[in-house]
Symmetry: C2
Subunit: 373 residues, 2 copies
Amino acid sequence: MTDGALLPAEPAIDGFWAVIPAGGAGTRLWPLSRRRSPKFLHDLTGAGRTLLEGTWDRLAPLTDGRVVVVTGQAHADAVRGQLPDLGTDDVVAEPSPRDSMPAIGLAAAIIERRDPDAVIGSFAADHVIRTQGEFRDAVREAVAVARTGRIVTIGITPTHASTAFGYIREGASLAVDGAPQAREVAEFVEKPDESTARGYLAEGGFWWNAGMFVARASVLLDALDRYHHDLAAGLRAIAADPSRLDADWAGLEKIAIDHAIAEPAAADGLVAVVPASFSWDDVGDFASLSALVAAGSTSADGVTVIGDPADVVSVDASGLVAARGGRLVAVVGLGDVVVIDTPDALLVVARDRAQDVKAVVDRLKASGRDDLT
Amino acid sequence: MTDGALLPAEPAIDGFWAVIPAGGAGTRLWPLSRRRSPKFLHDLTGAGRTLLEGTWDRLAPLTDGRVVVVTGQAHADAVRGQLPDLGTDDVVAEPSPRDSMPAIGLAAAIIERRDPDAVIGSFAADHVIRTQGEFRDAVREAVAVARTGRIVTIGITPTHASTAFGYIREGASLAVDGAPQAREVAEFVEKPDESTARGYLAEGGFWWNAGMFVARASVLLDALDRYHHDLAAGLRAIAADPSRLDADWAGLEKIAIDHAIAEPAAADGLVAVVPASFSWDDVGDFASLSALVAAGSTSADGVTVIGDPADVVSVDASGLVAARGGRLVAVVGLGDVVVIDTPDALLVVARDRAQDVKAVVDRLKASGRDDLT
């Protein structure tokens, strides 16, 4: 599923730490992903490793194991269980979700105390990257640029006019040793409509924002201090005295890193982008998962299968079947259908309606079936 | 589901016995119907009674409990379990399937010994009839005609130009007391193509052949003796000495009652038809089951449900969901879809491809998954 194992071992990057925010319910991937067991804990693609484990596999060699995972208190034990090589202090358990800035910022503040010169890179726990060599090259470039004092984002080469992602508009080329691709970021733009997205692709110089940020921990926190002083001070205070976490956390500003730092810092000319062409997917819904799995996996008579193809019978059908219920699944006469079979819930959805799975979860919550969400 | 319970009790018909052939695997209703647990043993429509129990409920009051069920040896215990009021000698267990004539003929021969003047009526265990009053009226007429020495079939009023059933072409009206509708049968015709079927409906005087035959047991066996002497003799010999059943059964001719008696006897002018307009369905496939259940049952947001509607969430979907797996079933963005969820097998099929469910069962057999068929 990944080509990581085939690459020769490479030396880790000195002073580089990875932060893995492991949050989000993955509602549009219900019933594979649940509130109590979100998608990062699952081997969604059938790769043999969970998304979190895959993220660790990518980052541990680059950091020599210097990895900090930030997750909800409810998931801390599951994270430790999946990543036994993670140190005891390397799981930060959030008392409640307060969006990405407090999560990543707290990890940065903790790392800043351990290693004041640390460069950190933040990479979500639930993304899939298939071309590890190109990923590593991009991270090395980003770290080189980060050492010059900038906040760096890795820009994904758009493969289509997606309206599901924000875009990064590139500025002038930067002359940084070891980072030939690096450029200034002119601006971050919100998720566009489709014609705007098509315009971006035609014009060139636009990259998908995958939320990958690389910077010195101190640079990141100093920038936060400039734009959201109380939040930066609060995070540094918790890092200095972790016993304050439970009491102070709920009082911190709830905000995404894009709004808190990336956008204002870009406006101030402080952000760089390293464009990269590795294969990337945020596995946002079953249409995305279908495409991902179809690209590399087993199939039964035209239907792509997650699980054992021997458990699936397909007659004149196409689409995706996840056979995770321990039962036989038969699909007859349906095209582009997604069937997700789990022990306590079954989903059948037209692939082009994958976004509407969220409505099922909403319906379950409204009808008191929280146990299934 | 049935209006039987609402009718006033009616006297049974003197000397009338019911024969219920309970056979067939119901392959096109997989996975609700299985080889080891065929459809007649199931409450397919969610009526609260199995198809077999529903058949008993219709016939026991008309016969004062004079009912004989013929079924495979593998199903005899299940039949006794569902029909506790059936006498010990009233289940005839076939050593192997030999089509409908040996099954019905053996029951006729057994009844003939118990009651030489008996009129028997044969009614399949897996049909659904919703208008009990009209059914009873038709049976009373058929019995009245049978007492005149004819073999009588009950003809179902066609509701559409079906190609799934054989047809009965009526002949001249018969002047029988108590049977004003009765007519001669001109001929039985095989399942027609669609334009022929449309012609039958336009012309009038054609009825669906539902395989319901009413006759004196002795008349039926004497007719069989005329057209298939060895079979009639063999059946009467087993009835006289039931210990011969296992040894003699496999040597009997394997043939359907339509070919063995109905067609040649019609050609000889010995068969009558009582046209009837009760609602009837042979529940041949999921398209048929969908229509049946939709007509009288619960639904969840546009989807017809067999089972508990609270177990089904439907978003912009239509069709049939059988929630028999003990799990939540969610259907999103699919029209006219059939989802059949059971503990060990799941079927998802486009309603207009209901006939192709047989291909799944064939595939399972071919791949050694007989346990699921």
